[in-house]
Amino acid sequence: MIFGSINPAVLMAALMVAATPILLAAIGELVVEKSGVLNLGVEGMMIMGACMGFIIAVNPGSPLIGFAGAAAGGMVLAALFALLTQALMTNQVASGLALTLFGLGLTALLGQQYVGITPPRTPRLDLGPLSEIPFLGRAFFRHDIVVYLTVALVGAVWWFLKFTRAGMIMRAVGENHEAAHALGYHVKRVRLFAILFGGACAGLGGAYLSLIRVAGWTEGMTVGAGWIALALVVFASWRPWRAMAGAYLFGGVVVLQLNLQAAGVRIPVEYLSMSPYLITILVLVLISSGRARASLNAPGSLNKPFHASS
């Protein structure tokens, strides 16, 4: 039995770690898209966060300051995107793609001297007796704080969008920016905040890769995580909890296929490597297929430029 060598508790624990960077980026992009902006620069903002987080964490030697720096790094790129698309009215798709390419190139330059260095360790959160529970303790309660904060963030975003007035205004801006403007809401200001939040989240996701999951810096180390986050948002129908389920599914398949590779299963490695992408997309397509547009929940003004005509 090939699964014999895989411990489910370890698998679960590894899954949460593997899913966290994607989930962080996805929840940020979800907010951005809910406000009606399509930022395809997630990959670029992630790698920026990975690089900045790494550099800042290594120099004074504190992972927490590193994460803060990563969020700032992601926000700087996001601010550039906001300047281009909201103030200068450039095309969102083209600007987002450029942002990704720019981020990849810039970080290759900035990170040159940091290849091969080990970052300071992020301590695991001490949950006392909880982490000693058989199976559950190993699976859920021996992580670093970022894993838990990410789950809390998903809950916070869900609550924000569903129950707060600010969240409702943000959904309104994303649904019909002309109507929101007519009612006197500041479409661009709302979108600016959303874009910056998305950048910070993507940056944190990137830093989680370089500081914890991989624990090292290499050029282009995000290898498409940003794109998976983008796809997750769409297939999760812009619903936070569903995005989390999708991210965990993706993380689970990634970990599982790595274990299967290690266990020497006789399936070509290429198939195993592509399986997380295929399975995640397939499952999410099945969930969201066969529904009316309204229940798909797509923001009505997504990717439409807003130009206030008064």
């Binding site: 007035r165 409702m168 205004i169 959904r171 309104a172 649904e175 019909n176 002309e178 109507a179 929101a180 007519a182 009612l183 006197g184 809401y185 309204a294 929940n297 923001p299 009505g300 008064s310």
Partner: protein, 509 residues
């Protein structure tokens, strides 16, 4: 009338590059008054109310609300002062529910549960029942307007601005709206009512301010003026009713025989055993309350809905199986009711839109290549002949006001020199002078020997242009009769069943 003045507007002016939208406009509205703001498309009505609502800042002039200086910098300030507005294109959010939509238009919305209760109370009180938990995307146009109105009412407005509220409503819904507005006025709320439907204004309003080219032309009591007089004030010239020279009736150009066709829209009305003949030089008017099969009739005639081959004939030749391009080639053209999105592609320029329907008949395309020079010349020709007000043919269709775009899409079809033209609501939302131009062009086309089929809900329009007359009722078409000597009462009877529907509708309310 000696009621206290609520809003005083003095010398408001606003310019945009190249346009003086408002020029020294002054008027007053008293409390509890229903005040009409009248004007052609582009006369500056919308700019004026946007200034009152704080969406646009005036270049000059001042406003007073209850004797105090009033200069709202943004809509929330206007709302705080008691000014509310119902927009022409609804400012609603499809994916949000009724309660959320209402909350978004309020400054300090109460907690969701209280809000839902207040929506129910207020909406029932004014005869506009609404379920707060429904998604707005699922509501009809009339219900959406209720959401807008209830949103305003919950804020206890002193002044309610309504921008062409009836353009999307059925006659029954218009009645309900008027009852609500009269009740509000009786309670002391002033209403600023923008429209260019003169009969409506005469029925509803106490006073009217007429704008032309951004300037105030007159203030009058609409009940003491005829619709004709007000129309002439709006346009600034004498209106000549369309000329209808007597002309011989030609051969049958289009014949439809016992055609039943299922609607493609699940909420549409299927056509049931439609038969009629259209002669060369004849204008056939088809009346009916909206939703009785008008859209389907147009789609069937334009070729968007295919019919059995032999049941639609053009000069005896079967064309039922042909699509729109095939029929255009043979000389049957159509202009649907929905101008943006159906008659015209919103994000394409007027030149491109001209090409879309005229490519074949005007030879604008050769061997798969587009002759842009000729296409643009054709677009310019339409713009010039139908007085479409636009900077040029390069402008996007969506940038035109409704009436101007209507002139363009109807003009585009008329310029194709068709044998048969089918139009649905040709002058919907179009001002008086433009409507006259369109009607005259349709009559001229008939004079040249084309068959013209006009589907309209405006009975006055049909009586003005039609030679013969029929009515649609639940997908059935009455016998065609001559329009000469036909009275409005007889037409009402032809529209049949609609009287009963009204009663049923009211019972349901």
């Amino acid at each position: 009338m000696t009621r206290t003045t609520l809003l005083k507007v003095e010398g408001l002016s606003k310019s945009y590059p190249g346009v003086r939208a408002n020029d020294d406009v002054s008027f007053r509205i008293a409390e509890g008054q229903i005040h009409a703001l009248l004007g052609e498309n582009g006369a500056g009505k919308s700019t004026l109310v946007k200034m009152i609502y704080g969406l646009v800042r005036p270049d000059a002039g001042r406003m007073e609300l209850r004797g105090q200086s009033f200069a709202p910098g943004q809509p929330s300030e206007a709302r705080k002062s008691g000014v509310a507005m119902v927009f022409q294109h609804f400012s609603l959010f499809d994916a949000l529910d009724v309660a959320e939509n209402v909350a978004l238009g309020m400054e300090n919305p109460p907690p969701p549960r209280d809000l839902a209760r207040r929506i129910r109370t207020v909406s029932e009180e004014y005869g506009l029942p609404l379920d707060p938990s429904r998604l707005v995307g699922e509501l009809s146009a009339g219900e959406r307007q209720r959401v807008e109105i209830v949103r305003c009412l919950l804020q206890d407005p002193k002044l309610l601005i309504m921008d062409e509220p009836t353009s999307v409503l059925t006659p029954q819904e218009v009645d309900i709206l008027f009852r609500t507005l009269r009740k509000l006025a009786a309670e002391g709320t002033a209403i600023l009512y923008i429209s260019h439907k003169l009969e409506e204004i005469r029925a509803l309003c106490d006073e009217a301010t007429i704008l032309r080219d951004g300037k105030k032309i007159a203030t009058c009591d609409p009940r003491e003026r005829t619709a004709r007089e007000m129309a002439e004030l709006m346009v600034g010239e004498l209106l000549t009713p369309p000329e209808r020279p007597a002309r011989p009736r030609g051969d049958v150009v289009l014949a439809v025989e016992k055609l039943s066709l299922k609607s493609a829209n699940p909420f549409g009305t299927s056509l049931k055993e439609i038969s009629f003949q259209l002669h060369a030089g004849e204008v056939l008017g088809i009346a009916g309350v909206a939703g009785n099969g008008q859209d389907e009739l147009l789609l069937m005639l334009s070729g968007e809905l295919r019919a059995p081959r032999n049941q639609v004939r053009l000069r005896g030749q079967p064309v039922g199986h042909l699509g729109p391009t095939g029929r255009r080639g043979l000389g049957v053209v159509a202009a649907p009711e929905e101008r943006l999105g159906h008659a015209a592609a919103p994000d394409m320029s007027l030149t491109e839109n001209a090409l879309l329907s005229a490519a074949r008949r005007k030879g604008l395309e050769q061997g798969g290549f587009i002759d842009w020079a000729r296409t643009e010349a054709f677009a310019r020709q339409i713009i010039a002949r139908f007085d479409v007000r636009t900077p040029g043919p390069h402008v996007l269709a969506r940038a035109l006001s409704g009436g101007n775009l209507q002139k363009f899409v109807i003009g585009r079809e008329i310029e194709l020199d068709p044998d048969v033209i089918v139009v649905n609501q040709p002058t919907w939302g179009v001002d008086a002078s433009a409507a006259a131009t369109i009607r005259q062009a349709l009559l001229d086309l008939a004079g040249k020997g084309a068959g013209v089929l006009v589907i309209s809900q405006d009975l006055d329009e049909l009586l003005e242009v039609a030679d013969s007359f029929a009515a649609l009722n639940e997908g059935r078409l009455t016998r065609v009769r001559s329009a000469r000597g036909l009275t409005v009462e007889e037409i009402g009877l032809m529209m049949g069943g609609s009287g009963d529907m009204q009663v049923a509708h009211e019972a349901a309310e």
